[in-house]
Amino acid sequence: MLTREETNRTALLQGTLDLLILRILVFGPQHGQGIARAIQLNSEDVLLVDHGALYPALQRLEAQQWISAEWGLSSNNRKARFYTLTAKGRRHMAQETSRWRTLATAMARILDLERLESLPKMEG
């Protein structure tokens, strides 16, 4: 997965892409291209998903039965494979989301520090 500034490639934690895909699918069934496009648009072009990452992630999610898939017709009548969130997937997503939020909050707290909280004195 790339960010637009190709000089600073940001590696994502594993499972992050999975969470993003699940979140996107909350809004309804979507095919692969649609999911990639949605992530790009809704992150304001910060996150660009390439297919080396997307499809393995989709296969992983499908294997875990968090999403289900089936062929259908797209909005412009193209045949495409649509993915839907399952109940199991919904539960997993909720868990992961709260974990992510906790992590993000903790990260933010430290990154925003003005000064250090009480630190034990180092003995000489």
């Binding site: 291209q33 649609g34 390439d50 297919h51 080396g52 393995p56 193209r78 495409a80 494979r81």
Partner: protein, 914 residues
Amino acid sequence: MFDRRRRPQSDFSEELQAHLALEADRLRAAGLSEDQAQRAARQNLGNLTISGERFYESSRWLWLTQFTEDARYALRRLRKTPAFSITAILTLALGIGATTAIFTLVHAILLKSLPVSNPGQLYRVGKEPQCCVWALYSQGKEFTLVSYELYRHFRNNTKGFEELAAFQAGGTSLGVRREHGENAAETYFGEFVSGNYFSMFGIGAYAGRTLTVADDRPGAPPAAIMSYRVWQQKYGLDPSVIGAAFNINDKPFTVVGVTPPGFYGDTLRNTPPDFFLPLTTEPVVRGDSSMLQQVDRHWLHMIGRVRAGQTGASIQAQMRVELHQWLQSHLGDMGANDRSRLSQQTLYLSPGGAGITSMRQEYERWLQILMMVSGFVLLIVCANVANLMLLRGMERRQQTSLSMALGARPMRLVRQALTESLVLSLLGGAAGLAVAFGGTRLILHFAFQTITASPISASPSLPVLFFAFGISLLTGVAFGIAPAWMATRVDPVEALRGVNRATRRSGSLPRKTLVILQAALSLVLLSASGLLTETLRNLEHQNFGFEQNGRTVVNIDPVLAGHKPEQLEWLYGRVHDSLLSIPGVSSVAACLYSPQSGDGWNELIYVAGRPAPGPTENNLSWIDRVTPGYFEIIGNPIVKGRPLSEQDTAASRHVAVINEAFARRFFQNENPIGKYFGNAEIRSAGEYEIVGVARDARYLTNRLEEPVEPIFFVPEAQSVVFADAGNKAGEVRSHFLHDIIVRMQPGAKLSEEQVRRTLAGVDPNMPVMRMQSLTEQVAGNFSQQRLIAQLTSLFGILALVLASIGLYGVTAYTVGSRTNEIGVRMALGADRVRVVALILRGAVALIAFGLLLGVPLTLAAGRFLGTQLYGISQSDPLIITAAILVLALSALIAAVIPALKASSISPMQALRAE
């Protein structure tokens, strides 16, 4: 393919295509042209091929799918090169088959347990099985046999055994006839067993019932158990046999049951027992030879099942105490020797799951040697096939380089090559099973010639199949690893540039190493076969001390025919006269044991006028009882005095003839003629007068490297009266002579039919047990040595052929790839001789290294053979030199052919070839 719910590759490709299309649509909608949209879409999508590959590789069963593909590919390739494939498979079949055949025997003889329940709980008394009767109260290193009284003492007192059973050591011949419907008795092999024998083993009857403790009581109706083999072969599984009346040695018995098929008793032997009789019927069956009531005649083995929680060590300790108790209780009956040895008497318990292991002991060494030999052959076979595979790999170098240039990962190629090797070796293994089956049958036929009903089967059992499969896998990996790895050490550029442009074979080091290995192993096998063949020759041509030609040994059993001791003289007289009447027969004599018959009888000797021998003195001698004319017939010269003759009758004084070893042991430098000695009891010390000394002759079949043992000969017509009941019975038994020696006039032949008819005329109830020439009897004792020597020689020649082929292959390949170089050399003035020398130099170097490696291995092998050699040293320089010469010669021939071809290359042709 194995993942049913798995999406097919095509479905995923379709999805990717759809993605592409949708992305192109979006870009077109954003204003790009058709072309630009397509290109941008493709760019955004990334490498489709890699996505597809990743999808493919995410399959859990990938390795299996790939393996199946590789296997199919390998089969296709093998089919395309039938010459290579057939050669490789046949070679592998030979190697794997030979090893599996030996393993079948090893498993049956060395590894298998008795077919009884829970063999792990069984313990037997004795570490080294003895057979078949020990007398008195001391038994050398350990008590292995017991008398009936001693058995009962152990049985009643050793609480650690759940069941302790006893059975006759060695078994006995029985004459069996069904009461109604059969007139003539047939001889079978049988065994006396205690009442709890079958319950101790946990064996139930296949039909009817087994013996119980109730049958083993004096006065109980005599019951017998028949083996399944006899029930099937002689009586056709006739159910009326169960409960039918039979005559065993002319005494009435009832057959109450049949053992399960596959049960062969307590000992793995060539002829398993066909009848099991209770111990208490022994006096009835054996009459005057009975040993049941003799407390100091030990003729029973013991095996017991231990109680849960008991250890062998604790029971052993307790039994030792009980042994000493029993010995103490008989202190008054012991002679001085036994009393002085009393404190040394001990016994050992050993695991009894394999029964009495005499066959194991006898054959263990041979099977070990055979296993090593076949292992060597397998190694040589592997080396050969590896060489072939390397060659194949070389030929495919261009293709391999191409694959690697196109992106094939080396691991994948290695796996492909290994799969091919495994397929080859599994095919070879399957073919090898057929070889193994045939080989085992052949070995069984030649090694155990006297088998009537061997419990060893040649058909592959499950462990044997597993072994063959395992060995095939190992073999495949062994000869496949090197070529597989070599296949990938290819510099693609170098290979694509072209072949035949080398002055030295850079890649042929592994091949050369293999040839060196083959040469070394061949040398070892050749030397070993030389040593073993020479041993056999020495054994067969040693100075036996008697004449073998023109003599036939006819083996009878007068006990079976129910003869009484009083009738024996008449019997043997009649046998002598009627056999003499056959045309061509020049003389006849009978003896208790003929030389090299495999059996013997020994006694304690007391010389008249001397004190009783001390505990360290060896006063043992063997004994043989003979009819007049024996020494002349057997060709054993008398060196002093006279042989036994007709003048020695029941009325004349008791005489004996001794051999030189007897004179040396008991009379040292004195003249033994006219001196007196006796056996068994010191009060009989003046019993026999020595009238002659015979030349030492080899009667016994073991310990051939030791000097001949003392033996004395007494006449059939004379009998000693002993006081002790056991000695009395022994004396009676010794008059039942087994072997009749018939000497033919030169050129005359004796037919078995004639002999049987003649003896049936004397006594129809006394069948001929066995008839063979004395030469056959002697040679029969060396059948294992012969087999080992023959097999090792066969494998040695095979190894030599394979090594020569290997050398030929390497040399031919060298010539082939150095064609350009040779052409240049010849164009620059080298003549034919120099070219030949050039090529031969390489070959000679290989053989030299092979010898360097092989000679120390040969010496080690000689040490391993060690005790199996006879009359020859372990590192006999003659044999080793001969082996080296043979190897060098065949190597020379193998290398000279391509060398000559090389020298006949025309330079123009060579330079032109590419």
